[in-house]
Structures are given as structure tokens and as C-alpha cells.
Symmetry: D2
Amino acid sequence: MVIVMKAKASQDQINNVEKLLKDLKLGVHVSIGSERTIIGVIGDKRKLADTPLEIMPGVDRLVPIMEPFKLVGKTFKPESSIVTVGDVEIGGNSLVMMAGPCAVESQEQLMETALFLRDQGVQFLRGGAYKPRTSPYSFQGLGEEGLKLLAEVRKETGMLIVSEVVSNDSLEKAIKYVDVVQVGARNMQNFDLLQNVGRSKMPVVLKRGLSSNIEEWLNAAEYIMGEGNYKVILCERGIRTFETYTRNTLDLSSVPIIKETSHLPIIVDPSHGTGKWNLVTPMARAGIAAGADGLMVEVHPNPQTALSDGNQSLNFESFKTLVDEIQKIAPILKREFSK
Amino acid sequence: MVIVMKAKASQDQINNVEKLLKDLKLGVHVSIGSERTIIGVIGDKRKLADTPLEIMPGVDRLVPIMEPFKLVGKTFKPESSIVTVGDVEIGGNSLVMMAGPCAVESQEQLMETALFLRDQGVQFLRGGAYKPRTSPYSFQGLGEEGLKLLAEVRKETGMLIVSEVVSNDSLEKAIKYVDVVQVGARNMQNFDLLQNVGRSKMPVVLKRGLSSNIEEWLNAAEYIMGEGNYKVILCERGIRTFETYTRNTLDLSSVPIIKETSHLPIIVDPSHGTGKWNLVTPMARAGIAAGADGLMVEVHPNPQTALSDGNQSLNFESFKTLVDEIQKIAPILKREFSK
Amino acid sequence: MVIVMKAKASQDQINNVEKLLKDLKLGVHVSIGSERTIIGVIGDKRKLADTPLEIMPGVDRLVPIMEPFKLVGKTFKPESSIVTVGDVEIGGNSLVMMAGPCAVESQEQLMETALFLRDQGVQFLRGGAYKPRTSPYSFQGLGEEGLKLLAEVRKETGMLIVSEVVSNDSLEKAIKYVDVVQVGARNMQNFDLLQNVGRSKMPVVLKRGLSSNIEEWLNAAEYIMGEGNYKVILCERGIRTFETYTRNTLDLSSVPIIKETSHLPIIVDPSHGTGKWNLVTPMARAGIAAGADGLMVEVHPNPQTALSDGNQSLNFESFKTLVDEIQKIAPILKREFSK
Amino acid sequence: MVIVMKAKASQDQINNVEKLLKDLKLGVHVSIGSERTIIGVIGDKRKLADTPLEIMPGVDRLVPIMEPFKLVGKTFKPESSIVTVGDVEIGGNSLVMMAGPCAVESQEQLMETALFLRDQGVQFLRGGAYKPRTSPYSFQGLGEEGLKLLAEVRKETGMLIVSEVVSNDSLEKAIKYVDVVQVGARNMQNFDLLQNVGRSKMPVVLKRGLSSNIEEWLNAAEYIMGEGNYKVILCERGIRTFETYTRNTLDLSSVPIIKETSHLPIIVDPSHGTGKWNLVTPMARAGIAAGADGLMVEVHPNPQTALSDGNQSLNFESFKTLVDEIQKIAPILKREFSK
């Protein structure tokens, strides 16, 4: 932490800041500049978390120097983490693919989709049983019934299951049926849910919030890890900007940034990230090329009749093309994806 | 809803869309333009909520015509709603003032603040017992202990209490101690919490999400009202933009927009909306001048030692100035605020 | 400037940075922290403007301490500047009002509007002769013909004239006909134009760019002042956000921020700032309440037939209401506005 | 264009709108819905460009149906355009690479860089002679002197030259020395410059504005093409968002969107798009994977001493890696890039 004093800060004001820091047993370095004095603070900055130095007389502003998180950072763990679910490794040499319908609709739909996806090398079937919808009048998901359908498909196909949780209640239920829970963009700062996911020790896909910067996203992961759950997979799904052509702006630069600052695996969701099915394959290619560990993609046997987000879902044929292209790009990144 | 067909849509494609709509018992108007055909849809659009018309062959895009919400809209209820709590009316002729520390710290702090604020005409003491914090290492609030302190102050001072809830558990506890619950920006789309707040029938301050547009905000209110709780007070608290000088960009244009589209009362929070105590009073004045029904302001006896958001809190002296200026502006808006 | 070294920076790397700074005759303070070393730099930071310290081995990042501008800042000139045009002071005790049609259309339109506005106490007639339009197929303004019409109206009414310049050519022409030139949002970083406006010594209204933060805006003003033209009036006109209800998001917090960091006067344009005529009056009130020195408002005798931006223009009757309300609010801010 | 009437619009109001449209010789389709009437307008919407229908009594809002541009659109020209400069095709089967220092500094620097880049298969040397800088105190480029240095290097190496123009004056000079002019982000809506570039008939790289949506960007290209210059190359270089880790947010979804809506070639600039050299190669890979026709990359023999944007420049070694990876990815997109 560096404290920048105002141009006109008095010596008394500087002394007061210095004293407060020393009282907190923090190291202090004072640099007297040509126009301003700055004060470097050394030691555990958490001692300062709740001291509003910023409004002490003479203080202009504070400049944080160290990252605000611990467990998620490369400083804490320099080598990449691999999250293992069943016999699948996420963040390892093989790319991971999570695919399926936005919302679980029926057993027929799920089974047809699962069998197709398993054939394509997809390891995880995704399907929403609890749907957070902007309007209370939109389809809200089948709830526990949907989870049961997912569990049946797992039994029949051997695929792993990922499904979103939106509350502690849905989390409790999901634990019984799925392999990986997902915390969606709208709940990225639902800290109560994050901590409960942490305590559950369930592997979790943590989506980036619509207007969350990378630091907040990593802090959300820190909430989960702080409860002892290290099985966190980050998922970039687009942020909100002024552009209206796409539903969100998929921020692929978050992929190399996460790889640089954190040891956690990161996947990309080009379906929600664009909101348009015809942009999904190009952005999936781009996501893998940027260094992502895998993809989450919406696939539906008949997108035209889907109960949710149909216009961003691929049909089987388009998904096949996507898989073909990912298979070709993977080796360039020294990764692999096999059907 | 208007369906815009592609420039090259075939007659068959147009017929298919028409047929689907008619099968759903919707009215259909086809306009053949010089370059494109557009199809107007008449009837209950909820029948279409989950039909991805957008990807039907030949369809270019859909244009919604009607508002997606009902209960919150002026069409449903043209006259302004007044939310009554105790003997205070929110949305009526008198301005409402909610003030107090960001976080409840101790009984001394609360009592000192409450007595001062009551003298200033403030009707509601606000204080956070459950604090949603970006980092798990920041002060998280006193929890139920904080609620008890708030309830004691209510007993002694007669002030009404507003406090944030962040989960169903904190909601259940808050119901026992406070007069108004608050749903914060980060939980604006925590639909599970919204519905529980709806069922609780507690008066609620619903803050705008950091990156929520006005339609989403009104839809969040619709979730609460849909459960039969009509005591919703909207609160503008700033949105996220590229500007870094302020913590958020207080979007005061939302005030006249809400007044135009909804019957619900709206207040403004210039403390979170700017993040800097020296911007609070000018933006409070501006909020009232824009037509807000009241303010929510952070006040602390000694902001310099506050455990949370100290640098955006007013001290007693600055708050007095704010009240003086609000009292002068109120009559121009044909409102009043009396100490 | 503070240089934050990486956690693992070697002593050699630290020494290299120190040496480079000393070679540039800059003062250096090295603070060795528990995890990182930080280096304070003292002296004229412009020596560093083009040295990419940021990529020297061992350097993590740079933290600027001082403002990047000089002439526009309060440090340079602590007391507020008053820009005098004719016998009107902008930034003084009286509020300034600039009003008129978005685009000059005809002499009748201009004259009718000018006579009405003069009666209302408006000091400046605004009218666009050169219109920067997103599409080349929209009305682009009457050019020099429009300037001549404005000059005629000045002669007849005695009103001062403000009109936008979009190029060096239009600037040269405008100088002959108007009292104040305006640089619009799209040209806020057209540095060539800014410098020519600076050399012209013409009073100038400098609008904030659609996605410019306050520091960039002040730097744009610095370009003008750097050429010896101190007659700069800033104008907040809204920034671009994700909100789609309004054309822009009027960022009124920029008003008190400018008042705190700069000595320049600032006015608010609620017409472009919202894009909707029915939001203009509430936001005009709010702008003055936030501390602005005046307003720029679009007024048209018959907005329904306006050739540009008709739906954000007030008609005469609505403008009268606006003036009435501003007259009532002014005294609260210890300002005045007289018809 | 569709006109949505208010829920309570009277029959008279509907008739008035209908009459106005018919007077303009536009086709009209009226659909009477359950709650609202909507009016479809058929014919040349430019007749309506300056008629503020939006404020006619009873009108709620207007919904544009057709694209606002012509020449840049796929409707006008369905097949992809190839821009030929010298013997290089941009938008054809081969990827194009434009690389070089942000700013021209000296002949040695340029020559060393050019020889290296030519060896790597780079067709265009880029180098800024006119630099638009946020602060007037930053290095502004060598001006015509810089252009001369670029022209000398062209003579010696045979490389094609691309350089930014920031004003009509710099455009006139650049025409004499370079092969392609560049209009930067800050000038994307400097319509006067765009039209002059159009008249010059020079091939042009048109960068996307910092806060421009895709429609505005295409409209800027329309300004150039409207003057008869069809040699326009679009360049995505990042937009402004709330994220502060990167200088801009590179919006790669613009690549497939442009490919879908326009026939113009598009390249990606990952250097300005991220502002951090270590993100350049991953985002370059991602850009090509998204379907871009080429790249513009900053390369400097010694980024540490660069006079401008050093921390986003690649050194020779890093650029070699980039080229190697692009060569591997190209065939997957059925493109090629040869040294």
C-alpha cells in the first residue's frame, strides 16, 4: 500500500498517518517528493482493511500494491491446478467440453442430446434445471425433476453432469444428482451461495459476472476456496458493454490474464458470450486459441423449439463442425481433444 | 412483437412463421415491404416466450413491442404508489430520508448516530448487519447481533429501521428486527431471494444492480410484486462505467424514467453512487432536483474509524449541511422535508 | 510516480531501475517491503513520459501520483476562472444559458427562436451549421450559409452566438461569424482541431467525449490552453453505457469533480445527455443542483418538424417551464438567473 | 421502419401519422393489436431521416428495420471484397501482416525493424509519424520527417508502408510517402477527415472507435466509400469497458459479425487491443481463429527504449513466436501465411 499525501499536507498530518501505521505495527517508508510526500506501508495490509486512511486529513489517495486475494493467486500456487471430476481432468493436457441444452425439457430431449454428445467426445452434459430468468414470466426450469432426469441420463450414458444452482436450496438438491455445480453470472457475488458451495466441496464452474472485473471474479473464487473447496473452474461468458449486436461482449483477453495471475483452469462459454448461434463456432475457436482449457456450449436437437435461449444453441450438425475445428486447433496449443 | 424477415426470405418461410403463430392462436399481420416482409403478432406474447422464432428459416430478428413487465408498470396502475411504513409515507408529498452507518459497529455508535439523525428529521436509520463484501477478508458485518442492536435503537428512539439482507437466512432473521429490508445491487438478480422477500410481505428497498438496465431492474421488482408484496421502493445507486474517478456512475436520469414508466417510489443513494464523501451533497441535491422521493445516505460519527466504506460517509456536520440544502430544494419540487 | 517491482525481482533488476532514474536526474526512494520493493520517483515525471519502465525486467507496474495536466488544474490556478464573452460572464455568479435549435434550418426558424429565447433571459443562441452525423445520409447542416444566418440574428437581436466546428475549415469560417465555437463529443480527441482552436483564441465550449473519462477531458482542454487560449468552457453531455433507454448516460457527478480538480467553468447539456425531450427539464434542474455554471439546451419552435434531433428538443412552452424552475433553484446554489 | 403507437393513442393520432407517411409517398401498413397499434412503413426510409415522428402525439417509439448503410453492406455486395495494395491482397486467401514500431523514431530503428519483419513474411511496415496522444506533453511523432524515413525504408526494402493520419494536413503529406493511410480510433468519427480520405482514393485502415458500436463503425466506412474510395480495411482494436486490467477490451466477436454483415476485410490489432505485450500473441492467435484477414502488431527492436507504447510492443524474438503460431493456425481457417 502506498499513501499519497495531498500537495499541501502539513507535517502534522504526515506525522499522524505515520503514527497510526506504526501503532498497527506496520512498517513505514516516507518519501518526500518535490510536490508531495508519499508513504509506503509494509506488512499485512489486512490490518488496514477497515481503516479509512483515505479520509485522514492530508491524505489524497491510497494505492494498493499487492493483490487482494491469496488462495487463487499464482503467488500462493505457481503451477496450474487440475480439477479432477470422475476420470476427467480439467486444466490438464486434454481440452474439456461441457455441452447440452440450456434448459432440461424432457428425458427424450436429454437422452438424444447426451448420446450424440458422448459420441462427439464431450465429457460433461450440461443442462439447466434451475433457470435464473430476467422476467418472472419466462420458463424457470423443471427444478428437482430436471435434476432427476439428468441423473438418469448419467446412469445410462456414463456422462458427467453439470447444472446450475441458484440458491442454497437448489444447491442441496443438486449435490444429490450432479457431478459439478455451476454458479451463474448473476450469482457471482451471491457470497452466501459461494460459501455454501465452498462448504459442499462440490466441483464448481464459476461464471464471470456480467459487469465483474477480473479481480472481483478471482475474489469470488477466493470465497469458495476460503471454505476449503479447491475444485474451482472459471468460465468466461461475456461482459456487458454498449455494443448491442451481441448479447454480451466475450472478453477473451481474460483467458491469458487468468493464466498469468491464477492457477485455476478457465473455460469459455461462447453461447451466452454472444447470444447468437452463428457466432458460437468462430468464438469457440478463438477461445481455444487464446489458451482456454475447454468450452461450455449450448446444444439442442432442435433449437427452434427450445424452451430457453434457443437462438444461441447449436444443432447437432453445427456442433459437429465445431468439434472438428477444435480438434484441429488443439494441437497448435499443445492440447488434445479426442472423440 | 414484430418479426422482421430476411431480405431473401422465401414465401414458404414466411408461410411457416405465419402458420406457427396461428397454431398458437395469435393474431398475425403480414406487411410486404420493398425489401423485406415484416409480420406483426397480436395477442398474449407469453405464448411465444420460449419459442425461438429468431432461428426459424428466413427470420432476421424479433422486435418486442410491449413492456415485459406488468405489475410495476404505469399501464397496470397509472397513479403513483405510496409505500407506508409505520406512520411514514414513501412516495408521498414528504421526502423520505434513510441514513446511518454503512455497517453496524456498536451500540454507542448506533445510538449516537440515531439520536443525531432523528433530530435532523431522518425517519429511517439504516445500518448494515450483513455486508456483502468483494473480498472474503473484509469485515462482513455483525450478523444477527447487529440486527439486535438496531432493534434496541428503534425501541429507544422510535426510528424506523432499514437493513440489508443477503440470503434467505438473513431475511428470516431481519424480519424479526427491522421495518424495511434492503436488497443490494449484487443481489438484484438473486431471484430466489427476491421471491422470498416477496412472500415475506416486508417493505423492501430494491437497489439497482451495478450493470442492470432499467428494464431488468423493473423486472426484479416484478419478481417481488408477483408474490403479492407491493411495498417496493426502488433505489438508484450508480452503475458501472469506464469512469474510474468515482466508484460508480450515479445515473440520475433513471429517476424521471422510473417516474414515467412505473408507479413505484424511487430514492437515490449518493454515497454508494459516488464512493466519495465530498460528492455526496451535490449529488443528493441533484437527485432531489431530478424528482426522487428521498435519499439514502451514509452517516457516521467518525468516518475516519468506520469499519466499512468510511471514505464515502458524511460526518454529522456535513450531513447537517446536506439536510439544510435538501430543505431548501424540496419546495421547488413541491415536496417538503421537515426536521 | 511509484514503481512497484515484482515479488521476485532480483537485486540487479532493482539496481538497474534505480540507475536509469538517476541517469535521468530524478530523485529515487527505494522501500523494501515484506514481499515487494517499491521505488518512489521524485522530479519532473515528463522525463519518463516515453521510457517504458513498465517492461524493464523485474518491474510489475507503475503508479502515477501526480495529475497529468497542468494549466487546467487547481494546483496551477486555485480560484475559479470566469470566461467573459461580450458582457456575459461564464463561471461567475449568474448562470449562463445557451439554447437554440440543434441545426440551423432557416432565417424564420432562427429569428423566431432567438426572439423567444432572448425574452427568457438566454444569453447565447446555439445553432448547428456543421453537423457531425453518424450516417452520411443524414442532414449535414447548412455550412457557411448557416453561419451567416446566425450572424444576422446576432445583429438583429444582440444575442451571442455559439456554433459547432468540425474541422479546421469550418473553424476558419466560424471565427468570422460567431462568438463562441463548440468542439463536439466526437472531436474531443481531434487534437489537431483542439490546437487550432487554441491558436484561434476563440472562446470554446469543449464537450466531453462519449467514452472519455474526466482525465482525458481535462487533457483535451490542456491541448487548447497549451496554445494560449484560456477561454475554455467544459460541457458534460453524457457518456456511453449499456443503458439503452436513454441515448447517453448524463454523468452529473462530473460537475462537482470538475469543480474540485479544475478552475474551468462547466455547463450541462441535458438534451444530448438524455436524447429525450421529456427528461430534459428534470436533468437540467439536477445539473444546476449539482453545481453547474449553466446549461446548453435544444429548443425548437416546432420540434416535430426539426431537421435534426427533433425528439430531444423542447418547444417554447416546455422551455419556459425549464427557465422558471431554474430560476427557483439558482438561489439555493447562491446563483442567479434573470429573464 | 415500424412505428409503435402508445397504448392509449387515439384514432386521430393514428390517422395523423398515417397521413404524414402517405404525404411522403411512403407505403403504410396499420396493424391494430390487442393493446397497441403498430404502423409499418414501406419505401425509402431516408425520406424520414429528419422527421421526428418519435414526438408526434400518440407515438411511443420507432423501430428501424433496415440497415442504415448501403455500400458497406452484404446486401449491396454479397461477395467478400479484396483490397489490393501493390501486389498484396487483403481479404484474400493469404493473411496480411502489418507490423512495426508504434512511432517512427530514427532510420536505424526503422531499417533494423523492417529488415527483420520482411524476413518474417510481413508485407506492411507500420510506423506512426503523427501520433494522437492523450496528453499534449507526450511525444507527438516526427511528422513529415517520419514519413520521409518510412519512404526511404520502402525504397530500400520494397515493403509497403502504412501510417496514421490525424488531420487533412497530415493526410496530404502522407499521400506522398505511404501506401496505406490509417484512421485511428479517436478519429473514427472525424467525418471531415473520413471524407477527405475518401476523396484521396488511398487504401485505408479504419480502426474501430473506443466506444463505437459496429453500426457506427460501418457508417464511418460508408463515409469513405460514399466518396468513391472502396479500398477500406476495417481494424478491430478494442473497446472501452469497465475492465481496468487491460487498456481496452478486444472485442473479437466483431470479426465474425463484420464477416456476416459486410464485404469489407477486417484485421485485428492485439497490441492496442490489450496494451500489454504478454497478451499480444494469445490474442493474435484468437483473432485469426475468429476469422480475421490479418493482424496489425507493434514490434520494436528494443521495446524498453521505445518513445511510445513500449510496454505493448513485441521484441523480435516474441514476434517470431507469434508468426510461427499464426502459420500453424492459418491452414485450419483455410488461409495461409508464408515467410
